[in-house]
Symmetry: C4
Subunit: 286 residues, 4 copies
């Protein structure tokens, strides 16, 4: 990849933009770590605010205080979001990335709640921003574990899909059978409701809000439980078999490619392993 | 196997029957794939129809529309079933095969519902026809995973039966004990009901529609739960041990023997691996 | 072991006693297999009788018929028990063996029910006699699986005990804490009841007959559920680890030592592998 | 480590202090074993006392008897605690050690209950003192199993934390979504309550005290259950993978270092493996 190709995508980061980028997007310098630690503190405070304000006895007492704090947090997050857009090379690409979408989702509920008050509590989506926590504490090892878990799940992706499709078929057929056997009189008011009951039973959750009353219904329910019991063994077997064969690998950094926002380049890397763009010199202090 | 042996079983497929067979039963030509894709779309639409028509608020509003659509689907499926019977070499053998039975079961409820309206919802059995989905999308890998799961279950078949028989005995004895201890006054109205409760408890479903009220009953229930907890580990252990020792094998096709309807012959195969009948030249485009 | 030693224990089986022993205790001759098959059929009929007679609608209708049949079965089992005592070399040893105790327990409820009618349903203990089923169908392979499962459990015996003792302590402490936090007003009426609730929660059964109502109680319950979730993994891990390392061994017969009633001697064995007593020639037809 | 270093920490144990130490803290001499056996008997009696006195029907009848016994046990435990402090080289270090804190916690509730009667039942914390049981019965093998279990959990510590943090985020987001969808009218009265419900559902406990009533709520609940089902597989996979790779090691004694209270030195050890202090000659009889 040549420099001219870079020009067509956006100017390489220099001056304050490079500095801001290193602070906001990475966490290997002191300033970057400090920024992320404050960010996480504010996210946690903001989530706690929503949780407590939903409790009637607390929420009504400090109503105006909570309201003020929430707008404070939302404005802070809005400023941060704008700053991220400003210092990144390809704002649109960031806006559409995984973290970009979450960052936006964390802002929207407060503004939308002006129009539709009910969705106010959805501000809790902010908790997803905590996924950044793995980056802040330099928890390289944890990131590796995370990736190891993710890879085990990915490796057994197809087995899990086959398994899920089988479960969905069973649940639909059994739900329909129970709808026919028990009928609306015993709480099985429609096929979707019966399927909900069947899932409740197969996963051994068993709320008990809907339960079979007839002898035949109980007999079928018993079969389903024993079946669900055996079936529980399958995903466990899949994941376990996958995990016993996988071992963790070398640690990574929080360096982020300026082009495609891929994370975790090694400290000695010069080019992005994903898009081939040149990486700036590694910023670090310890 | 000689040609004369074939004559006694039915004429080898030629002309329009071979063509129809390749389209309806296989999915390696473009026409065959298209046929199966349309089939799945109709199956899904037909199942969705039954599910939504069972919801009172929707079902009563569009009653006549739903009724019309259902007869349309049923007639389409009936035609397809007849076509399958017509182009296969041994119609009876197909009718008694796994897919043949399911295909018939998918038709019956609509016709039977004319006599017994209650079983109308059983049309949902149609969802089982979706088992063909694995074939349509050429999901060879998924089929392999499916077989791998199936083989793991088959390999531990005997262990699972021994385990199930032990569980059934425990459940019968414990159910009887609880019937004696708690009695009809506390909801344990008969031995079958108590056994239903015991299964509910051992599988950790725990609906809560029947619960022990006496101290002794609660003590026995506690023991059963701890026992059920440990027992849950057994099927998991069986399946996991089986799965860690099995690896998937080479991909397969959707070629189906004209004689015995065995699926999945390799593209270079000349004879059926199950009954030894000669396979016609492999039809494929990519 | 010399012949004189045998004399002190009881005469070696000869004549009708040897014949009866081979029929009643073993299942490798045709007569022996027939005897056991009939026995199992009667056991199943007898258990079904008790189960159905407990259902009010059926039980009251055929009251006298059920009563008559039950006495018939009980007398048949009593005769069989006496025959077993008569043809075995050491009657007391048989009476105290595992199967001997079960055989006796299967008789007692009917006789005792003359005095205490409530325990009548305990006749279902008869189902345990079905453990003999593994012997009848010459399910040698199943027996091996059974032993394999048993050995896996036995091998992890100590781990399971350590685990169970830890669970019992947690459950007692958490139950007490919930008793203090929620109190009798919310259904946690005593420490045993709270411990019952704690077991219900840790094992993920969750009946819902007793549930926390206060915020603190719900917080503690949430911690317990997450803890219980993680803990579920431990017995599974133990059993799976044990099972992946064990493989099944060679098949066995149903030959039973006349001295100590040890089962499963190999067909070419001359002496009991447990007590060293001489085994009579192997009776078999196939 | 020289003798002068020891002087600065406390005098080496001699005379009655060494004797008392060997009896109270170790269990390899006859007197030491006897002491611990009595201790466990008293702990069990004391716990049983609290459990039974909480049952109304029993508790009110023998109120004064239970009260007297409890003070007797508490005074016995207080004396034992003082004796431990007296004969150990570094009383403060013992008081702050794991067992020291538990020993103190076992005393406090009785004294505090004079001020706050409600916490009376917390005396059950005494059951934790039973952790000493592993020592008393010289269950070396069990201790090893215990350590083996502990090490497996420790080895997968980071994986479990990553997993738990992911679960907490999911539970918080899903709880909030359900609070918005179902609302206080259907029992989801606040975000903490909804999170409690979400944990109940994900862990498959399913009390059923709060259940979704709307169709959308039930659909989301169904997704959560299937998700929870798959997620159950992860901790199992982690622990199993860890356990299949770990094997137990050599047996240990109950020798306890006089300096730092580390347990389990080998019988031939001369110096503490933790702090390097000289160990007195090993006291043992068998």
């Amino acid at each position: 990849m040549t420099e001219s190709a870079h020009d067509t995508l956006g100017k390489p980061l220099t001056g304050w933009r490079l500095k801001a980028y290193t602070i906001i997007f990475e966490a290997d310098t002191r300033a970057g770590r400090l920024f992320d630690q404050w960010l996480i503190a504010i996210i946690l405070a903001s989530v706690a605010l929503v949780v407590f304000s939903s409790v009637d006895s607390i929420g009504q007492k400090y109503d105006s205080l909570f309201n003020g704090l929430e707008w404070l947090f939302t404005i802070a997050f809005t400023l941060e979001y704008v700053a991220r857009l400003a210092c990144v090379r390809h704002p649109l690409r960031y806006a559409l990335s995984f973290y970009g979408v979450i960052d936006l989702l964390a802002l929207l509920p407060t503004y939308l709640a002006l129009l539709v008050p009910e969705i106010h509590a959805l501000i809790d989506v902010r908790v997803l921003r905590l996924l950044r926590v793995f980056r802040v504490f330099k928890l390289t090892a944890y990131v590796t574990e995370y990736q190891s878990l993710g890879r085990a799940l990915k490796g057994s992706r197809r087995k899990i899909m086959v398994f899920l499709s089988a479960v969905l078929m069973i649940v639909l057929v059994m739900g329909t059978v129970m709808y026919v056997v028990e009928g609306p009189a015993n709480g099985f008011s429609s096929v979707p409701t019966s399927v909900y009951w069947a899932i409740t039973t197969m996963t051994t959750v068993g709320f008990g809000d809907i339960t079979p009353k007839t002898d035949l219904g109980r007999f079928i329910a018993s079969l389903m439980m024993l079946l669900g019991w055996g079936t529980l063994a399958v995903p466990t077997g899949i994941v376990t078999a996958e995990m016993t064969m996988r071992r963790v690998e070398e640690p990574t950094t929080t360096r982020t490619c300026h082009e495609c926002l891929t994370e975790g380049h090694q400290s000695e890397a010069n080019y992005c392993l994903h898009c081939g763009a040149m990486l700036p010199a590694y910023q670090r202090d310890t």
